[in-house]
């Protein structure tokens, strides 16, 4: 399909070393995955609200769903989604509403990791889980939303 996404909407920043460059042992809590900045326009809000049947039709507040997907856009740009990793779930805490025209900054960092032993049909497997924080703030450094994503890493991950 023809790609219509306006890539200039989102800029990203962060260290040259990206998450997929690390071994599991190096994925320490607090490791900086970088982040990104964007500004959502009324046009974008109208487009999203119409598509999702959202009640928020071009009002002042940005639908939380848009903060979610722009955050994920930054995750793609910063290569937070490791090849073969399965997104297991999210924990979301809502703070102050995002407004149309706000400059939103999303920062990404490793929150935690754990290894879970699983036994099936007499075989023991170690599942590796990685938790990544996605924290969004506005231009006044006020919290918008905190999302912690959990990933089941591929069995081949060293």
């Amino acid at each position: 399909m023809e790609k219509k996404f306006n890539t200039s909407l989102v800029t990203n920043f962060g260290p040259d070393k990206l998450l997929p460059d690390l071994k599991f042992a190096e994925m320490e809590p607090g490791w900086d995955c970088g982040g990104g900045t964007y500004k959502i326009t009324k046009e974008e809000v109208d487009k999203f609200a119409k598509l999702m049947g959202d009640a928020n039709k071009g009002e002042v507040t940005v639908p939380i769903g848009m903060i979610y997907i722009f955050g994920l856009r930054i995750c793609w740009d910063r290569k937070v989604f490791i090849d073969g990793a399965v997104r297991a779930g999210d924990k979301i805490v809502f703070h102050k509403p995002a407004k149309i025209g706000d400059t939103i900054t999303t920062k990404l960092s490793v929150a935690d990791k754990k290894e879970v032993k699983k036994e099936k049909d007499g075989k023991v497997r170690i599942n590796k889980f990685l938790y990544v924080d996605m924290n969004a703030t506005n231009q006044n450094n006020e919290k918008i939303v905190d999302i912690q994503m959990s990933f089941l890493l591929p069995a081949t991950m060293q």
Binding site: M1, K3, K4, F5, T7, V10, E44, K47, F48, L51, M52, G53, D54, A55, N56, E59, T61, V62, P63, I64, G65, M66, Y68, I69, F70, L72, R73, W76, R87, A88, G89, D90, K91, I92, V93, F94, H95, K96, P97, A98
Partner: protein
């Protein structure tokens, strides 16, 4: 204004639901907004030969969550979930074009903490056949 009377609500009550009909067109237009053109979402022909999801594309994970986000806003009577509202969710099964997904929030308990009235709920997002696509819990602040 909230659609809920906190004083009278009790465990087992089912909260108002929101639903979303998912089509390939919706997935494609969503990709245009978020920039995620992963083939598992948009390559209809390519995915026909891929057994991973039964020969189908699947919706972006954030589309799956949209009904519960809209339900939270409707329940709280706001356009953005009230500060302190929390959702904990696990993705259980993919959502495919043709699915109609709906939020299912059932009150488990309630509490008043720091001056806030909070409903503690079990949360699911199910398809039209009652299959669980997303499961978890929510703490909903009633203004």
């Amino acid at each position: 204004m909230s659609a809920i009377d906190f004083a009278s609500i009790k465990a087992g009550d089912v909260l108002p639901s929101k639903s979303l009909a998912v089509s390939q067109q919706l997935i494609n237009e969503y990709a245009d907004i978020c920039g995620d053109y992963n083939s598992i979402h948009v390559d209809v022909e390519g995915m026909k030969n891929n057994p991973m999801f039964g020969g189908s594309t699947i919706a972006h994970g954030t589309i799956n969550v949209e009904p519960v986000i809209q339900a939270l806003c409707a329940i709280e009577g706001v356009l953005w979930p009230v500060e302190g509202t929390k959702v904990d969710l696990q993705f259980r099964a993919p959502v495919k074009p043709g699915f109609v997904i709906a939020s299912n929030l059932v009150v488990k308990d309630k509490k008043t903490e720091g001056g806030k009235n909070i409903l503690i709920c079990d949360m699911k997002i199910q398809n039209q056949q009652g299959g669980d696509c997303v499961m978890g819990s929510a703490e909903i602040v009633i203004p």
